[in-house]
Amino acid sequence: MPDDPAFVERLRAGDKEACAICVREHSANVYNLALKLTGEPAAAEDVLQETFLSAFRSIARFEGKAQLSTWLYRIAHNAALMRLRKRQVDTVSLDEPVEGEDSILQPRDAGRADWSENPEQVLLDAEMRRVMDEAVASLSETLRSVFVLRDVNQLSTAQAAQVLGLSEEAVKSRLLRARLALREKLSAYMAGRAAEAKR
């Protein structure tokens, strides 16, 4: 991606071709971040549009200290959180963990099921995809943000830390908790599936 000052200057000048290149390069990443954070395709589309409208409107404020992609992710992340907060204002606190750290670090019986050798086609069918999405949606907002940036969008620890305004250590710690919680959910599902197959 052209991240050089000349390209950013073209964006600042409102160069349509440069804007199109920027959109082409980053729109799928922004959409995936928004989709996994909000869990709704319509909300993800709104966030996607808001992100680029806001970015192009405020490109003068982009100082080039971070990568352009980091800046876009930050805008998208904030926009997605605003939507979540609006939607959930009367429900559970967004920062309330779904599971405490202790329970995540203490695998239950289902969590001990060994599905590491399952054939890929079993793991990748439509039902499994749904279970994977539901597992991400069940994470607390703080864990979900880190997980999606690191393991779905596959940003480096340093870049995820920049997007979220966290230390790299905090990103690593939250990522581990998120991964262990997801492993627990997928293990419970695989254990149920294995029990069904035996019947």
């Binding site: 349509k16 804007c19 199109a20 959109v23 729109s27 799928a28 959409y31 995936n32 989709l35 996994k36 395709p41 589309e45 996607l48 549009q49 680029f52 409208l53 192009f56 670090l105 203490q106 695998p107 969590g111 001990r112 099921a113 060994d114 599905w115 590491s116 399952n118 793991l123 990748l124 995809r129 994977m132 997980f147 393991d151 779905v152 969008n153 596959q154 690593k172 710690s173 990522l175 581990l176 991964r179 262990l180 997801l182 492993r183 997928l186 293990s187």
Partner: protein
């Protein structure tokens, strides 16, 4: 005591699963795993979990969503 060791190990897995742990930490973890079936399963399925999301966690941008985005931004698609 064994349980405490397991909890300590699980807390150290962040760098290990990403292949970024120091040699000393890798050795410590692998020594524990060789004698603890429960933790071995947890680590193997944790790796599988990460791989699943890495390979299948993303979705393509739907064509109609992309077309509407270009329209809203008043840009030419391609």
């Amino acid at each position: 005591m064994k349980n405490e060791e397991c909890r300590h190990l699980l807390g150290q897995l962040a760098d290990y699963v990403d292949g970024e742990a120091s040699q000393a930490l890798c050795q410590e973890i692998e020594r524990h795993l060789s004698g603890c079936e429960n933790c071995r399963v947890v680590v193997d399925t944790l790796r599988k979990t990460v791989t699943l999301y890495h390979t299948r966690g993303r979705e393509p941008l739907p064509g109609d969503v992309e077309a509407r985005l270009y329209r809203v931004l008043d840009l030419k698609d391609r």
